[in-house]
Assembly symmetry: C2
Homo-oligomer: 237 residues x 2
Amino acid sequence: MTSLYQHGTLAMLMGKQMQGTITAAELLKHGDTGIGTLTGLNGEVIILEGQVYQAQSDGQVNHITDLETLLPFASVHFYKPTQALPFDAVDFTTLSDKLQAAQLRNIFSSVNFHADFSRMHVRIAPKQVPPFPSLLEVATNQPEFEMANVTGTVMGYYAPEIFNGPTAAGWHLHFLSDDKTFAGHILDFSASHVTGTLQIFDEFVQHLPVQDAGFRAMALDLEGLHSGITASEGGKK
Amino acid sequence: MTSLYQHGTLAMLMGKQMQGTITAAELLKHGDTGIGTLTGLNGEVIILEGQVYQAQSDGQVNHITDLETLLPFASVHFYKPTQALPFDAVDFTTLSDKLQAAQLRNIFSSVNFHADFSRMHVRIAPKQVPPFPSLLEVATNQPEFEMANVTGTVMGYYAPEIFNGPTAAGWHLHFLSDDKTFAGHILDFSASHVTGTLQIFDEFVQHLPVQDAGFRAMALDLEGLHSGITASEGGKK
């Protein structure tokens, strides 16, 4: 079986810890495929075949080749699919239903698929500067982009409900178009001609920036944490 | 830095999944020190220097030498201490205070110390048979034992609040007396002549029994989960 490696937690972003604490180079030692964000919640990162792409909040997509670039939060894995996806068409709402036979509710898994999208709706987190706000404050004012008839790749993870806090429970998906000009954190989509895979993980490796003073001293508002994550990440269950 | 490896989750025990899903032999590949329980929540396990001990609910302590013995839930690590404990006397209530300079709130750590205990108060989970009840039901009726003036070892973990569910937030400590006749899950203690160590982890590796049908199909009552964990584990913060 395979591992999902996560650096940082969503709770840290809620706790205003948006300073980058892992390099892209170090992250890529733990996987060739994944999602994340850069220092200051600067955009939406998607990693495919060991290449790191960032959608920035004006909509531009950058190929990150400086592997000293820092990330505060990212999830990666080595692509070793468990099975082909058993459907040709899907949208955000029906993704879990179409994978029901795989019984994913209590485990970590990822989907990675190429398709034609009649609709792709994404949001892109805007870069913050210190002193950082909470993820929730950022989430109330994030640029959204929508494109019709775009071809590209969806990559993301499913996390069980009890891991809401360390990460976002439910599906957390990012997108990158084939021509690498359109990308972001997926809010909604409708896809056909789906070709891709499901990968099941038996290990979730949570790496924490234990040397980071801000993280060590962070005080979390646990009351607001779960509702805040739902408001800012809006993962589909 | 070092890893804390956990097989299974506390949430699974709340969800009536108490079937053993990892052998002691496999577990020991991931650590020589740790805590856990056996199939059916059968007692309290403590692992010291690669040796596995089980306190069973009549108070007897067994040295588990059959490494095919199964566990549904256990946490282990390789003993590589970060620092010596900076105090000579401690009780359950003051443990976090005495370690305040180490800023443990947001990270995983373990303590492992030998001491003279003027008081050691433990509980030992009684063995359940299928169909398994919830951990919470078991917790309402658990044998407790108390001993005055006993010498032995405390071993356990601190987990951050956001990991309540996967594990028990706060301190989760087990005890084994030097003469190996008294052990259990610690409810309270008062110690002097403390000699021991603190170990900080930068990785929490959550291993899940993804091949287990019961676990895959489990439906969790998330509303009751957190209060249930507090009621049954009662970890000190």
